[in-house]
């Protein structure tokens, strides 16, 4: 096993640790008084966290010249999608008893649900086109353009988070600031070196 493969394994296992602990605590009834809410919140935060880590790959790579980082980006992005999927499934089953009409009316009545849903649907085409074959089929340029949807998903995700808290905006604010920094870096980089704009793919 070469080093890249080994580091991929480390990231793969570590990214599963929160899910393993969630599962462990669920089995032993240690998720607290409101296990559904806890599961929802944790998977939601993990979705955003992985999205931000994914978005930090390019700035770190460019700033420090750690070009190998890009090899781990797909896995990190797919973990964001994975936790987002768990988040949506938990909401659909426990909060809405899998009733499509209940979900539809929820989307209609509660803007933060609509925004969260939109964020997830934005992630779907990115996840689907994450394979090497898809990159070839789409061509690097188109693929990179499509994958800029990640920015939209992250912005919507932070807004979704912001809207659910009652008054304690600390964590949404923190996520928002980090996201602002990561997107700001990209704008800055594009502005500074217009010729290298494609490097953000």
């Amino acid at each position: 096993m070469n080093d890249v493969k080994f580091y991929k394994l480390i990231i793969f296992i570590n990214s599963l640790v929160p899910l393993a602990l969630l599962g462990w605590d669920a089995v032993f009834g240690k998720l607290g008084a409101n296990p559904i809410e806890f599961f929802l919140r944790t998977t939601g935060v993990l979705t955003l966290l992985f999205l931000l880590i994914t978005l930090s790959v390019t700035p770190l790579r460019k700033y420090y010249g750690w070009n190998n980082l890009v090899k781990f980006r797909r896995m990190l992005g797919l973990y964001s999608f994975f936790y987002g999927f768990l988040h949506l499934v938990t909401y659909s089953i426990f909060d809405k008893s899998f009733s499509l009409s209940a979900i539809a009316s929820d989307v209609w009545q509660r803007p933060f649900i609509a925004i969260g849903m939109l964020a997830f649907f934005t992630l779907i085409p990115i996840a689907v086109t994450s394979t090497n074959g898809m990159i070839k089929r789409l061509g690097g340029k188109n693929w990179a353009r499509l994958h800029k949807l990640t920015y939209i998903a992250a912005i919507l995700g932070v807004i979704h988070f912001w809207m659910i808290v009652k008054s304690d905006v600390f964590y949404p604010l923190l996520f928002g600031l980090v996201l602002g920094g990561l997107l700001g870096y990209r704008i800055y980089a594009a502005y500074e070196k217009p010729k290298k704009v494609l490097a953000t793919k």
Partner: protein, 320 residues
């Protein structure tokens, strides 16, 4: 450091391939185990287990009236004491128990005044000498969850009667203790402090409205609003103000904390009403803590029969 030229390195000094690979595998296993443990550690640090329950004093001679109790399954003591909204201590419902562990609730007085004939300051020990009743009520939070809680307490009306409200008194204002040495700042809580609440006088004097001094037969745990709190079972939980230090009768609708924070979301009345939407939480259904599917929310939290006459002339959607 002497750097030997390749021809100077004796073959005996070169690590053989097997040892090299073993060492590499050993380091890799260590890295894998180490990072996994570190990640698990971070997770546990962010999500610590609940603290050990603090045992409070037993309340003696509890009267158990046959009305004022629902036959629904009670929530457990662990659930009731580890899932609390008490922003003065923490905005995380699962962290309040730990943050409120050292909250000092003695000595404690409740100052009752305003538009009354006989303003009076009650000592908590005197309030605990009132006849204590068990009231098993549904408790519905505006966030869409609910519990069934065996409160101990007495009707608020007893206090109101003893101070003799003046004819001009129409409302009752309540205030929670705010002690910056024991509680977090208003900035961290995200709401103005001290926490204030209010009721119309007829709501306050309703037989369902109590000042609660405990639950499950014991004095009130800190995280639930020790040593004394309001319980208004047909309204969203945030109306049931905790750790009360001041009760003032007024002729005008008093300001209330959540209404100040977001007037379009939290009205003065805040009666439990499945027909009045909230932008973030469904109010048509609720998650009864301990259950895995949502149940329908009842108008006035199931107390419509007892309280709807209070609102017979009112548009409940307008006065939400």
């Amino acid at each position: 450091m002497v750097i030997k030229k390749p021809n100077e390195i004796k073959s005996s000094e070169i690590t053989d391939e097997k040892t090299y690979l073993n060492r590499r595998n050993f380091i890799r296993a260590g890295l894998l185990a180490g990072t996994t443990l570190a990640t698990a550690g971070v997770y546990r640090f962010i999500n610590p287990p609940p603290p050990k329950a603090v045992v409070t004093a037993e309340i003696q001679n509890i009267i158990k009236p046959t009305d004022f109790r629902t036959e629904e399954k009670l929530n457990t003591f662990e659930e009731i004491t580890n899932y609390n909204n008490y922003y003065e201590f923490s905005t995380s419902k699962t962290a309040v128990a730990r943050e409120a562990e050292d909250f000092i609730t003695r000595p404690w007085t409740v100052e009752v005044g305003g538009l009354v004939q006989k303003p009076k300051t009650f000592d908590i020990e005197d309030l605990l000498k009132f006849d204590q009743e068990e009231r098993i009520y549904r408790f519905r939070c505006v966030e869409g969850w609910s519990m069934v809680i065996p409160w101990i307490g007495f009707p608020l009306k007893k206090i109101l009667d003893s101070v003799k409200p003046l004819g001009a008194a129409k409302y009752v204002a309540f205030e929670t203790l705010y002690d910056s040495k024991q509680m977090q700042s208003s900035f961290s809580a995200g709401i103005a402090l001290p926490y204030v609440e209010g009721l119309r006088l007829d709501e306050a004097a309703h037989p369902l409205t109590i000042l609660a001094t405990g639950l499950y037969g014991k004095q009130m745990p800190n995280q639930n609003g020790a040593p004394i709190r309001l319980i208004v079972p047909w309204k969203y939980g945030f109306k049931s103000i905790k750790s009360v230090v001041k009760i003032t009768l007024t002729d005008q609708e008093p300001p209330t904390t959540w209404n100040i924070a977001a007037p379009s979301e939290y009205g003065f009345y805040s009666n439990v009403n499945p027909n009045v939407r909230h932008p973030r939480w469904s109010q048509a259904t609720e998650n009864r803590i301990g259950e895995y599917t949502r149940r329908s929310t009842l108008l006035f939290n199931g107390y419509a029969e007892q309280v709807e006459s209070l609102y017979s002339e009112m548009d409940l959607k307008r006065f939400f």
